[in-house]
């Protein structure tokens, strides 16, 4: 079970207070209708599935109910940092 630092509550809390929100920094296309099926499909379905450094959203569901991002190592499950939505990670992997 992970121990997650919520950047809004500014506390370490147990994983069971959170829910996972999938990969972070995926921007919704501003004009979806302008995209062909392939490009829209890429936005909808395709994720980096990183081995190692991964930026992902977490939701403090039974806490402050705020979304934030975490940089997590998908091999070791180590959470290297958490940061607020709209800000950028300080730790990035070679492929991210």
């Amino acid at each position: 079970m992970l121990l997650i630092y919520c950047p809004h509550c500014q506390e370490n809390r147990e994983e069971e207070e959170f829910s996972y929100g999938g990969e972070a920094h995926i921007v919704r296309p501003l004009a979806p209708e302008a995209l062909n099926d392939k490009d829209w499909g890429d936005y909808l379905f395709f994720r980096t599935n990183s081995r190692g450094i991964h930026h992902e959203m977490w939701y403090h569901a039974v806490g402050c109910r705020r979304y934030f991002n975490a940089t997590r190592n998908t091999v070791t499950y180590e959470i290297l940092e958490t940061y607020k939505t709209g800000t950028q990670p300080t730790i990035t992997g070679a492929n991210s």
Binding site: M1, L2, L3, E14, S19, G21, R28, A31, P32, E33, L35, D37, W40, G41, L44, F45, M57, Y59, A61, R65, R66, Y67, T76, Y77, E78, I79, T85, G86
Partner: protein, 1000 residues
Amino acid sequence: MSQNRLESHSGVAIDFTFNGKAYQGIAGDTLASALLANGVNVVGRSFKYARPRGIFGHGAEEPNAIVQLGSGAGTIPNLKATQVELYQGLQASSVNGWPSVNFDVMGLIGAFGRLMPPGFYYKTFMYPKKLWMTYEHFIRKAAGLGATPVEADPDCYDKLNQHCDVLVVGAGPAGLVAAREAARTGARVIIADEQSQFGGTLLASKQQVDGIAAPLWVASLVAELMAYSNIQMLPRSTVFGYYDHNFLTILERRTDHLGLISTRGARQRLQRVRAAQVVLATGAFERPLVFAHNDIPGVMLASSVSTYVNRYGVAPGNKLVVFTTNDNAYQTALDWQRIGREVVAVVDTRSNPCGDTVAAVKAMGIEVIAGHGLIEAQGSKRVKRALVAPINEAGTQVTGAVRRLACDLIACSGGWSPAVHLSSHTGAKPEWDASIVGFRPGDSKQQERSAGASRGTFDLMGCLSEGASAGAQAAMLSGYGDGNLQFPAIAVDEYSEQPQQALFLVPHTKTTSRAPSQFVDFQLDVSASGIELAVREGFESVEHVKRYTALGFGTDQGKLGNINGMAILANALDQSIAETGTTIFRPSYTPTTFGAIAGRDVNNLFDPERYTAVHRWHVEQGAQFEDVGQWKRPWYFPKQGETMQQAVDREGLAVRNSVGILDASTLGKIDIQGPDAAEFITRMYTNSYLKLAPGKCRYGVMLKEDGMIFDDGVCACLGDNHYLMFTTTGGAAGVLAWLELWQQTEWPELQVYFTSVTDHWTTATVTGPNARKVIAKVCSDIDLSSDTFSFMDWRDGTVSGVKARVFRISFTGELSYEVNVPAHYGRHIWEALIAAGEEFNITPYGTETMHILRAEKGFIIVGQDTDGSMTPADMNMDWVVGKNKAFSFIGRRSLQRSDTVRSNRKQLVGLKPLNDKEVLPEGAQVVFDAKQKIPMAMQGHVTSSYYSASLGHSIALAVVKGGHKRLGQVVYCPLADGRSIASEIVSSVFYDPKGERHHV
């Protein structure tokens, strides 16, 4: 006094039974020590060959003495007798050995042991496939995996969540001093040990520590630790799992030692500990030596023999032969000699043993047979003799004549394997170290360090100094102390030891495949020849060999056999042990009860239950309830003697013909406010809310970005920048999270706020042709005429003296008023409406009637008629999709994907069975041709199906490929019983297709 109990050892007598026979032990015994004291040789039968087996070890490593305690509801299967503390009246039986350990029908199979090579089950019982269940039943019964109780567990269990700075696992010498160093710094320390007493190996040691006997030194140190207020000491507590971010689980056995069923609170407690730092001082397991018939009762680990003698005052035999590859086991010979029993000889595989302990043994006049192997034990239910022969330096060949030694006990030692299990749970890969002939813990992946024997340091001095350093370091890293040791070094006797020999398979005069079985894994009867055979059959990976031979798959998880097995495999593959590697240890370290894992989350505490404010009224009326998410909703309200069908027929007809009332309080309600509320809601729903005026409601459908229906409900405009969104009962939490996701992560510039108000309101739906007359009796300040308060309007008003919001929305197709009042007034308003409706025979109805009424109207239920792969068009609901919205609402683009515009998608239709009283089973598959061969081409499935009393025939909703263009066609639902029900595809709207009844 029992035959094997030493006279020097006494205590309070304890009566117990084993396999129905009465015995006596003494206080402080384990079941194993008591059985040994009583001279019980055979405690079980082996898994595959049903060979008689005796007690082999003295702790968690025990492979043979697996017992079941008690009978009935409190019975516990698969305990190791070595870990069961004796209590008055204990009843134990062997889990294997059906029908008895001394006469075993499976023994007949044992006689054909050579016919059961590894993979036997795979090879033999696979065909014919149908018979596997029969085979499995027989195998399980015969092999004996214990019996699970069939009644509910009468005990209760607890969970406890804790944080600590330093968690010390194991209270042997290393763990105890680690805890002391850490506690001294002020850090919060937990020290846990699986045994009833702290001290580990020191409890059975004859060494002097700080000038006093080891057990006395332990007692004084434990007393010292207890004086710290910042230390928690947990005996009888097994740390069984090490998970991410230093989260560890401890099974604390609180009352198991007192009896089968706890009379004092929780029997066991699952402690869930988040530790800043961890010290693993889990010790080591002595490794057995693999020689022919090494499984005959009377063969034991050397350290176990010493433990029984020194700690429990039990001598498990008379004439001892020690067989060793190292100096350590010589101590057993000294212990045995000291109690006045005969040491026949010490057989040492090394050609020139000469350490201090060796010298001490020789000085006693005990024969040391160096350069020899004990190649075979003989005897049936007890060892009678040992065959000893000279072996070459490499330990691969017998080089001379065989000598026979009469004996009844063989204490063997192949060295020690560090207990790297917990470190391995963290993902650290154990590393082979030839100098200790064992795997050491790999590099730390988490905030942990190993100390003492679990790190491969086997001498007491080393254990104490490593433990102290580890404790101080862990405390410092958790923010306490400076890492320097607080206590002076501890003085212990030191012995010089010679290196041990690495020997994993003792040679025999015959080749491994011809020699009598040389067992590696006792519990699962895996022999050295079996592992070699697996290699000959092409298995190379240790993980594959493990699965093929079942090595390490028993309840002891190969604590004894794994290293020998891997080494034999490495040898057969002609590669090093390091190259072969080891299998990965996973939680649990030892078996853990389901009761402890479940804790209090059982029965009525299994899941929270939510009740509406009117719940008690429903109970008083005899309602039957249905679980909807966590809500308890009235399902139907049977009158005296009514069946469910009769009740829902009556309820449905009452709504269609007069008036009914439904508790709709469970519907999700989200209060939405902010200057951008309308814009935000319009982005989330398929239709537009920008022009929705206060006092108006609109039905909307919410899609996921893939275009599939996710939730539906009505949204009302309460005022400028203020809306109330209704969601499905089950979808409420998910919808709120969904709204927050988009607002927070995609459109933070939109000023809009969400508050869940589901529980704040009681919603009473009054529906039916007489609904207006009922409302009129309790509400005087709302003009109810349909001209001013029409369908899809809502009004503020006063109902029976309570401020209320009344919505004209309908899920039945009838004239409906949904009266919303603050939940505290829920029952008041409900009873007022019931009283007002009395003259119209107002009928409370439940979810079943609600489902039938809406199905008659073809209204979908998200999650029942949809399954996450349905678009609005699939549901024939194109009308709900706004075609001219400026913003590309969530899911819109996906409605144009090639897959979502296919013409043969599954589409919602009505089904009318040709036999119009037949109710189709929900979930039934739909096919076009009932006569086709199996597997049939499945064209869809039934999503909702009921008998409709209003219509006088059964109805169903289904999704069928291309269904919208198939009206009038006959389709079939083939059932498991061989019948096939024919139905006509009809419109999904069965009742009042023009929608005239709710517009009155």
